[in-house]
Symmetry: C2
Subunit: 358 residues, 2 copies
């Protein structure tokens, strides 16, 4: 059989894991985090322009598979992401992801990208962007409870974007803490491994919780959170999964990405459905106040939203165009005559018709 | 920089357009259509077992981008598909698609596949499966109005699965008809090019409409449809797009894939929301009658449903395992320690930390 090589229209740029690693290594992870936070801030400023849909989740006993679409009318992006807390037992990732960015005018994909690494970076950039607007001025010490896959990305984002220079780590698994401390060595941070969550929060102006159990947990109890602290709660991100004692949420000023989704998936699950919350874009555009006084507890109740993935895909799409870290994937059928899809089969040598069954 | 080669867990089998063409050429397109119809029938029989969600559509002036997920609790599939009627003017396809099949237990993708060609085949297989249950016994002649990308797949599916041996073609573009006639030569069908839709339906026991305009159109008017005919209406597939005069829909017994979606997207849009309709799976399982008498007009008001794409992905996933027509794609990050995502960056050589901005 002879098939013509696919045309340019058939090809979709693809950023593999290996190429994402090369791209980030080339740019520098701190620079990527800072550029992502800036791109995110620009998109939060035009938040009302986005078509926003709650993620479409398929729940099962072991976890969830989600599709997260968003569009600004010119570009369309979606992410596929799973969350399976027990996966690590079999050597799999808890969260893996990939995504696609498309041209709204034609519906054609412009980019397919790995998003496991990209999601970790966009989550960290979003957290740090929120803290830039909400954390107490001059905050330099962050407690990090949960030292899994997200931890180092969060630490570096807060260092680069917020100015944090000391992190205090705690995880129920000392190996996880050791791993994080090892990875964070020589990156401009004072790293302290702590023996308890209580010890980790000592002296911290910012507390980040990023644990992974799919259940109601109390990673932080009320007495652990002093006046003026900013809490960055990123581990509570699906129905039935929270990290904070409800009293903390009640005492705090709550900031969300997209409140309807956060009420279902975030710490707000613990409170009545009319509990007040401010969306981060309102703070960024000045439509609503952020932190109003020094003693206020601010809580960024983050669950991750599709617009952030859209921004991340848009950023990577721009960035790979200036690099060689991309392959071309033969994903779209592109016949010479768009109406002649079958002709592609003919030219690929579909065999003569067999005798009909009927 | 040195990066370890990705592990098996990181790799996702990928069926490119070229490999889909090779696979279909190797198996034979008629055999693929017949096997797809059988796989579809098996999944329609267990229809209540599926998690069914209406497609998630993002509409714009030029078209629509949709995500179509479905799961049977063991496997999860979704399709990305666009519909942009004006695309052909710029040499693009009206419809392109790709899809992913995943393991529900881990959330990991098992397959990424082109679905532009696969969608044409699954649509044709579904149409023919419906006709096998609904068309008048012994039907051998089919009118085909609209001779675009879907036409030949429909014709061959009806030949192989229903026993049609004559097709009567009409399209507003004579070039489209000539293209279809050329592609269908020597495939066991008597092919007649007709000068009007009225001429095409003469003597036809089955009428297939597959036109592409995104608007209310009247491809078939009431007087063109005689008693006992089976109508396979596949072109009306999004809000505001229909092909049949409402009087035809009113006279016919209406069969759907998933009625809530068809009321929004199919010919049923033209009728009140309580107009009776029977879902195809009910006919296949015997829960509801199909065609009850010779003079009855049956209408398969097809809009395409996610379960059909699930079935198509499941079929291709099984079929490629026995072939070499698959590549491995480095789509998923797979660190040695699942909690050590950042370590992949370290080993890829992320540069030393720059001076913090804060």
């Amino acid at each position: 059989m002879t098939a013509l090589p696919p045309s340019d229209l058939a090809m979709v740029p693809f950023v593999s894991v290996a190429n994402m690693l090369r791209l980030v290594a080339e740019i520098g992870v701190e620079t990527v985090l800072a550029e992502l936070a800036d791109a995110m801030e620009a998109d939060f400023r035009r938040w009302p322009d986005f078509e926003k849909v709650p993620r479409i989740a398929s729940h099962s006993a072991g976890g969830v598979i989600e599709l997260m679409p968003a569009s600004d009318g010119r570009l369309y992006g979606f992410k596929y992401v799973n969350g399976h807390p027990k996966n690590t037992r079999s050597g799999h990732q808890t969260v893996t992801a990939f995504g696609v960015l498309s041209d709204v005018e034609t519906g054609y994909p412009l980019l397919l990208s790995e998003m496991t690494i990209l999601t970790a970076m966009r989550t960290a950039a979003t957290s740090a962007l929120a803290a830039r607007h909400l954390a107490p001025k001059g905050a330099r010490t962050m407690a990090m409870i949960g030292n899994g896959a997200q931890c180092e990305f969060q630490a570096l984002a807060f260092r680069t974007i917020v100015g944090v220079d000391a992190v205090r780590l705690f995880d129920v698994s000392p190996e996880a803490t050791a791993k994080a401390a090892r990875n964070l060595a020589n990156r401009g941070l004072k790293v302290t491994a702590c023996r308890s969550a209580e010890a980790a929060v000592e002296g911290a102006e910012i507390i980040t919780t990023c644990t992974a159990d799919k259940q109601r947990a109390t990673i932080l109890s009320d007495n652990m959170v002093g006046a003026g602290v900013h809490i960055n709660a990123i581990g509570g991100d699906c129905p039935g999964k929270t990290e904070l004692h409800p009293d903390i949420v009640r005492r705090a000023s709550v900031f969300t990405e997209f409140t309807p989704q956060t009420r279902i998936e975030g710490e707000l699950q613990s409170l009545p459905p009319d509990h007040p919350a401010t969306e981060l874009w309102e703070v960024i555009t000045g439509a609503a106040p952020g932190r109003r006084e020094a003693g206020e507890i601010t809580l960024f109740d983050s669950v991750g939203f599709a617009v952030e993935d859209f921004t991340a895909l848009r950023y990577i799409h721009e960035r790979v165009q200036r690099s060689s870290h991309v392959e071309m994937l033969d994903l779209l059928a592109d016949p010479d005559d768009p109406r002649d899809l079958f002709g592609m089969l003919v030219r690929a040598g579909v065999s003569a018709a067999p005798r009909p069954q009927g």
